[in-house]
Amino acid sequence: MKATALIAEDEPLLAQALHAELRAAWPALEVLAVVADGRSAVREALEQLPQVLFLDIRMPGLDGLGAAMEIADRWPAGEAPLPQLVFVTAYDEYAVQAFDAQAIDYVRKPVQPERLRRTVGRVQQALAAAEQQQQQQQQQAASRAPAELLEQTLGEWRRLIGAANAAGAAGAADAPGAAGAGGPLLKFITASDAGGSTVHMVPVQDVLYFEAADKYVRVLTAQREFLIRTPLKQLLPQLDPDTFWQVHRAVVVRSDAIEQVQRDEAGKLWLQLRGRPQEKIVVSRLYAHLFRAM
């Protein structure tokens, strides 16, 4: 079956090898582009709209997870269905454990032809099923067709990204001194002010939301704003998942502070929080399912 793909892999030889193995395992697959970092992956994916994405998890700039989330958000679902996502990872026991535990298919470096053929088989099946579904739905109700399909693929992406995130958290938790998944929950955020002479103890129950910004994470309470350097990825496993929801690649909000959810004309969801009524927080497409009306 004919299809198009994008490969994002920062090590040139491994990218070349994956390309070669794919040619053998799936001769009809056309590789539209091979890129070496996450930002380029997002740019090329949105420009060329491939049907399959092979994303290396560890890449400079934006990593594979970040690239996937951004692509999910900005994908023009009206023009083409969201691609099938396949993560590529080097030997990493956490990733291997996390993926195997959830029966998630991934490409492991070095690429083994046997395994790659299995992955290719599954991707081909998924593509064929999606196409069939699209045709059926188009006959029934033209307008709803892409929405359901998109919802389904998004669910699959969430599962993949969740597993890869869990792997990252497990890896970080194993490092000495780091509290991670299953560890104690944070009670305070310790944030130093600009001079570094004072450390503020911010009770986690006062935090309305966290927002990753460049090198920092902004911590916002109803009254104030603090900056910390601990990445969001490291913070998340130490927060109660029932209370704090990730709604965007860069944003984690306190769920019981959400006052209302609004949909704009482009279909994007925006959150309004009690305590910070003047700010609007955008919800990523990946997490929009959290706010579907009952």
Binding site: D10, E11, P12, L13, L14, Q16, A17, A36, D37, R39, P60, G61, A90, Y91, D92, E93, K109, P110, A175, P176, G177, A178, K215, R229, T230, P231, Q234
Partner: protein, 354 residues
Amino acid sequence: MMKIDWRDILRHGLLVVAFCFAIAAVINSIWPHKSYVQHLGYSMCIGLLIWLVIEFGRYPLRRPQDPGGWPRGWRGGALTVAGIVVGYYAGSALGDWLIGGGSGAISSADAQHDQRVSLAITVLAGALGSYWFYSRGHSSALAARVSAAERDASEARLKLLETQLEPHMLFNTLANLRVLIATDPPRAIAMLDRLNNYLRATLSGSRALTHPLSAEFERLGDYLALMAVRMGERLRFRLDLPPELAGQLVPPLILQPLVENSIRHGLEPKVEGGEIVVRAQRSDDGALMRIEVSDTGIGIHDAPSAAADASSSFGLGHVRERLATVYGAPGRLDIGPLPGGGTRAIVQIPLNRP
């Protein structure tokens, strides 16, 4: 410093008591006209006093560097003599008072002779006992120190090995090698040789004490060449070693963690990659050598992961520790940002002269 170990003292006391029983038996065979209990009384009085003087006299006398808590040199000798003198005279008097038997000799000539014999026995037993305690304390302290050093060394070696043989690095290198075997066999062979050198250096390097700087640079070359195969054009490097410094002896793989840091926190997170330069030079006054590892990566202040990364802070801490152990205060490691972006680490060590 004046810590008194009461369990130790109790053990010593019991040993002294046992020793006194033995000495009483010996004395009993020399002067059988007194009972064993009487001899035991005297020997206990004298022996325990000698012990008490020496046991507690050693605390103010010993210096911190004395092994096993027993004073060495003239202090030890003086303490032993003082113990024996006090023990003999005070102990005899105490014995006389407790047992009330006097010397029990018939004539004064005999008494003088007996006194000399018992003094000789006291001196002999006191010296013997003191020497025994001293040497035992000494050797057990040395043994403890040796085993602590061995434990430290093997722990450090293990940790070093874990950081150097990072599975991610190893498996990624093998994955690259697998590609090269099919596409570019001569390059694959060259890479395999580099890997071979790198593994050998990592596995044995943690055991040797020093090697020439030229060997250190060769190992860095192996490591960087391996990383360059993986990173392609994103990694460029230059090694600059003046010939007159090539023979300088340095601890093996002392620079390795610095280069690894430059790659992991400087170049790997940077999309366009960059350059690593390792340069050795003699200081202006000629007494020191400076080895500089600089990179054009994202810089330590922009890498939030660098501070949180336990293995890299372990690596740097380990470099500092090794420099301090081998060279003392002149051995230093300084790390800082470069004005144009990037990071520079400088290792400073004294030059060794042939």
